[in-house]
């Protein structure tokens, strides 16, 4: 009988273990879980939130996920009505789906009650991170982290007299941060394969990631500049002739030519993190990346300080840049919604916002951005303001994930896998997108 008892005992022990909650902190005091991406600004937010815990005695827990898994993981979490996140800093394009499917708590009443005014925030961020439907006063998030695509370059390399002279001889202008994509390509070609301090370096790093959103967030910076539009400004969702206009085709071709001429080997599936590695290890002269990383880069022991410079996305026929950034929202499935609102109330205070910027987070609050000292507060601050005035966002429709995955496929097929022509890629994209909107009943 002994054996049987052991057996039963083991089963019972297993059952008890299963029944125990895995979070041991539940018993003591209040806890909030904040979900975001794992990156520099998240570390800054952890630092910032110590003040919140000190004031309210609410403990903070964090769930940070790398960017390449971020959308996948948290949209899954929201769609399965998970209670993991109380507060979520969700990507700008999620807002449509999150609002229509009830993942986020609507914040209008709360804002009114607490006297939080959206007028206090930069208009582009309110439009991008908080509103759904766009251009209506329905708020689902508080703008938390402004962001756009920008560029860094190796100032120390650019300022070498021998390189300066060589460049001037070749192109008839100074070796300086490029103002147009054409110039950017020339600078890239100039550095590509060059020997600097006994090391082979490459021209530029650009986004090429396939799995999540990488290559789309990169290629749009060129597309917008050539005149790509998501749809007819006069007739919503009419995409033929706008998405695949001759200008858009030219922009896509140009992005590919930069990919072919000037990027380091192996960058076939690279996003922000690979870019940082390439730049920090001294592999590339210029790097496309999100402003969010610039405070960290500026502090970097190898490439920071005097060695690094920043510039805004170059123009071409037009001048625009891809919007990034996120708003902070309360998850409607959370058991701690009141505490979560407390957190947002605390976060919206001008003082906290100032501290946020000081720690390396891009505040969207006018108290920070309109401060006369802001442009000089960091070497990239002025560029950030300029960029935020010309941002364009990807679709923020409830079907954004489908639209994004279609674009990932078509663009990666053309740029990296050499499949078809730019025109064919964009024609197919129009078809894909029309199918999505048709299924949704919007066209």
């Amino acid at each position: 009988m002994g054996r049987m008892i052991t057996f039963a005992g083991a089963l019972a022990a297993g059952a008890i273990a299963i029944g125990l909650p895995t979070q041991s902190a539940l018993a003591q005091g209040k806890t909030l879980t904040l979900c975001w991406a794992a990156w520099d600004p998240a570390n800054a937010l952890v630092e910032l939130s110590k003040d919140f815990t000190a004031k309210t005695n609410i403990q903070m827990k964090y769930e940070f996920v790398p960017w390449t898994n971020y959308a996948d993981r948290f949209l899954n979490e929201l769609n399965s009505k998970g209670k993991l996140c109380d507060v979520i800093i969700g990507d700008s394009q999620w807002i449509g789906g999150a609002a229509e499917n009830g993942h986020y708590v609507k914040l209008n009443e709360f804002f009114d009650k607490e006297g939080i005014k959206m007028d206090d925030f930069m208009p582009a961020t309110v439009l991008g991170y908080a509103e759904w439907p766009k251009h209506t006063p329905n708020y689902w998030a508080l703008p938390a982290m402004g962001d756009a695509v920008g560029w860094t370059y190796r100032k120390d390399w650019f300022s070498r007299p021998e390189l300066q002279a060589e460049f001037k001889k070749k192109y008839g202008r100074d070796l300086a941060p490029p103002a147009t994509w054409t110039e950017l390509k020339q600078v890239g070609e100039f550095f590509q394969g060059r020997d600097i301090d006994g090391k082979k370096v490459y021209g530029a790093y650009i986004f090429t990631e396939r799995g999540s959103e990488g290559i789309t967030m990169g290629v749009t910076n060129a597309l917008y500049d050539w005149g790509f539009q998501y749809d007819n400004p006069k007739k919503p969702y009419q995409m033929d002739g706008f998405v695949n206009s001759p200008d858009a085709v030219a922009g896509l071709e140009f992005y590919k030519s930069v990919y072919k001429c000037c990027t380091p080997p192996g960058m076939t599936n690279a996003y922000m993190q690979e870019g940082l590695d390439a730049f920090k290890s001294g592999q590339v002269a210029m790097m496309m990346n999100w402003f969010a990383f610039f405070p960290g880069l500026y502090k970097d022991p190898n490439v920071g300080g005097d060695k690094i410079g920043f510039f805004i996305n170059p123009g071409e026929k037009q001048h625009a840049t891809q919007l990034g950034g996120q708003g902070i929202s309360v998850v409607s499935y959370s058991d701690h919604k009141e505490d979560a609102l407390q957190y947002i109330k605390w976060f919206a205070q001008p003082d906290v916002q100032k501290h946020w910027w000081a720690l390396g987070g891009y505040s969207c609050h006018k108290a920070v951005l309109n401060d006369p000292s802001f442009p000089t507060s960091a070497p990239f601050a002025k560029d950030f303001l300029k960029s935020m005035e010309m941002v364009v966002d990807f679709w923020a429709e409830p079907s954004y994930a489908e639209l994004l995955l279609d674009m990932q496929k078509r663009v990666h097929d053309y740029v990296v896998a050499d499949k078809g022509t730019a025109k064919e890629a964009l024609d197919l994209l129009v078809k894909d997108w029309e199918k999505v909107f048709k299924e949704e009943g919007k066209i």
């Binding site: 996948d72 949209l75 899954n76 769609n79 789906g97 229509e100 499917n101 990631e209 396939r210 799995g211 380091p264 080997p265 192996g266 960058m267 076939t268 599936n269 409830p398 994930a401 489908e402 995955l405 496929k409 990666h412 097929d413 053309y414 990296v416 896998a417 050499d418 499949k419 299924e439």
Partner: protein, 320 residues
Amino acid sequence: MTDTSGPVVIRDRAGAVPAPPVARVIRGLSDRAIAWLFIAPTILLLLAINVFPLIWTIRLSFTNYRANKPNVPLRWLGLENYTSILADPDVWQAMQATAHFVIWTILLEVLFGFGLALLIDKKFRGHSFWTTVILLPMMLSPAVVGTFWTFLFQPQIGLFNYVVAFLTGIDPSSFQMIGDVPLAPWAIVLVDTWMWTPYVMLICLAGLRSIPNYIYEAAEVDRASKWRQFWSITLPMVLPFLMLAVLFRGIENFKMFDMVNLLTSGGPGSTTELASITLKREAFEKWRTGYSSAFAIILFVTVFGAANIYVKALNKVKQR
């Protein structure tokens, strides 16, 4: 081969169990009660987590349901999902990529696996230790394998390119195993072969060990050459095992998702986008639940049909 009763032939034996003597079923639970008590939990679990979901999938596959938009009214689409999948050139491309992957991994794994098993069966000194060493790759998590091989395949810092460059003299940054369109389909074949050859080897080894020695002894007496012995004894007797290995690997690789997704994300472009990766994207990134249910059913029917035909062939081989 009277002593091998794999999953296929055991069926015939299951019913042949003699009934227990009735006299002994007096105390405790009756045999019948025990039988059902022992069987029911397994069947219930399988019904709940396999059969019920499968039926649900079939139902969903005729609708426009989307798991991320529960508020959208459910529409009955009939066979629309199925026809649009079968008419989609991208789906066929994924199927082609899958076929390439399945065929080549099976071929290479059988070749290496069977070869290794033959060699190990020679029972050289230390064969037990080295067998265990060879088994190690298949104990890794596919997630670890997929992630770490991206590191090994890095053109500059990766060990793989470095070794190839060292051996051939070409520039290590001149080729990108997971980034070049011609190379990527082979990169995933290479990694899968590395990981699963040990598995095929183990099955073949089991087959080799099941051959009674007296058959070889008889062959020796008949002065059959080693070559003849291989073709007329070893191969035919190992064949059922080999075919079993092909079945297992075929099913597994047809539904391959994790390792390849982490290694290439289906790229460059859609070069290595296997059917399961497409399915995962449709189901859990685009959230086209109804559509992807239909796709899942198509894949399931394909695997199930192919496996059934194959098992019939296998049974024929076994009966010989």
